[in-house]
Assembly symmetry: C2
Homo-oligomer: 142 residues x 2
């Protein structure tokens, strides 16, 4: 089935380019990008998991790895010590700025340029309808 | 982006059901299914990698694991000892027959039932066009 091919090969191709050029997985890239777009480059771990489309346990694992590379720091939220907040460091931001153009170029080459504007719109509706079944609720708190 | 969500969450959801109900990853399921549909339930490893949308090294790793569970055996091809052929065992076939209805039900619930027949046709065209970019050639030999 073509969808199965898409599900396996596209993530593999995106991972391949990011790994080769930046030493990042696609998931790690999404985590850094999600933080870079947040106020104070900081986000609750639970929000970040939703943004990056992963479970909290997967995210914890990945953030630990990004912390060892000095790209991210974690600390308890000021108003609630039970909540953990992740922050992108200056080093992490600089690394992301370096990795972004190659990744954007790859997505453009594999997805945007492969489809007509009408198909891109169709794909968005299709993906949203499937996602609504797969993941009906978004987590609101940790 | 919705496509990123789809790429991360749909495989995760399919894996989750298969792991929970059958102790298989989606990739392992595709390997067993690919063998079950082949003549003599056998296929060259290189063909099987193409069918299951994975690299040969990933496939080797997974087939080794399926071999330990007695679902698959590997042997050199009769006409060319440099080529490895994988065969689904009776135990592997029985296991697949058991796992299939739950997996088919899940794909139906998440994908088929979420879309109109027109959208399913659109998705097939879209996936094919992206795949043609990601993976322009199919491997012909090991």
């Amino acid at each position: 089935m073509s969808l199965a091919g898409l599900m396996f090969k596209l993530p593999g191709a995106l991972d391949y380019q990011l790994q080769r050029d930046s030493g990042l997985t696609h998931f790690e890239y999404l985590v850094l990008a999600g933080l870079s777009e947040s106020p104070d480059r900081s986000r609750r771990m639970s929000d970040l998991a939703g943004f990056a489309n992963g479970s909290l346990s997967r995210l914890s694992h990945v953030v630990k790895r990004l912390e060892r590379r000095s790209f991210v720091v974690r600390r308890p939220a000021e108003d609630d010590g039970r909540i953990t907040v992740a922050t992108l460091t200056d080093a992490g931001y600089a690394f992301l700025v370096d990795a972004a153009p190659g990744h954007v170029r790859t997505v453009r080459e594999y997805v945007i340029d492969a489809l007509t504007p009408e198909q891109l719109a169709q794909l968005k509706v299709i993906a949203d309808q499937i996602l609504q079944r797969v993941d009906p609720g978004k987590p609101c708190s940790e």
